[in-house]
Symmetry: C2
């Protein structure tokens, strides 16, 4: 039950794009430079964010990535689900009892967990991140 390394790359990148969003597009090579990850691999992850509508991309010279229009609304949940997809963490009732009390209980707790992540905006975290050395 772990979030993938790709999700970490995506979140870190979102933080960067948010902090420097006034400076226009940023290329994947610059974004990858801040982390230990290859450009081609990070590119695949960012494409997921594009398809989820969290960022926009422009090919060609001086192109790159930038945040979508109302980027202030993007939450941790948006980014995590864009990369990880939407499968529930416990879903083993296919050919069993679909009203299994165990599954119901775990998914109820998961729902609250996701809702809490849905209240955490990247923009707010980026504001806080300005005060720590690493960013």
């Amino acid at each position: 039950m772990k979030l993938s390394k790709s999700t970490h790359y995506a979140l870190h990148t979102m933080l960067h794009l948010t902090i420097s969003h006034a400076e226009g597009h940023t290329s994947v090579s610059k974004l990858a430079g801040h982390q230990q990850v290859s450009t081609t691999y990070l590119s695949k992850i960012l494409t997921k964010l594009v398809k989820a509508g969290l960022i926009v991309s422009v090919p060609g010279a001086n192109g790159g990535y930038k945040l979508k229009a109302n980027w202030q609304e993007t939450t941790l949940l948006d980014v995590i689900q864009a990369v990880e997809g939407l499968p529930p963490i416990f879903d083993y009732c296919e050919d069993h009892n679909p009203s299994c009390i165990i599954q119901q209980s775990i998914q109820k707790a998961e729902k609250n967990f996701l809702e809490e992540l849905g209240t955490m905006k990247i923009a707010d975290l980026a504001e806080d991140a300005r005060n720590v050395p690493h960013h």
Copy 2:
């Protein structure tokens, strides 16, 4: 970010042991008979529950598994952590900023998630499960 199939086996088994806990020990072959899982593999999972102190085992004829003394207190969290271990779902700050705001936020939400699972007692779920056909 998924709970393993082993965790499902463990939870299902705990439900069975709780429902039939008045009948003494239950062998792993009986417990495996209720699920599509081999006896040797389920045995490995149950050994984790034994080491976590959630159930007790007795080898030899008429042996098997039964719940621990105050079995009424066992929660979903106890079982999940016994099988899955205790790693946080997001932990990518080893050589980075240990006070990373993203990590802090996700782990805060995770803490609430685990605490909620810690309030869900297997005994209560077993009581509800008596009213559904599958169990």
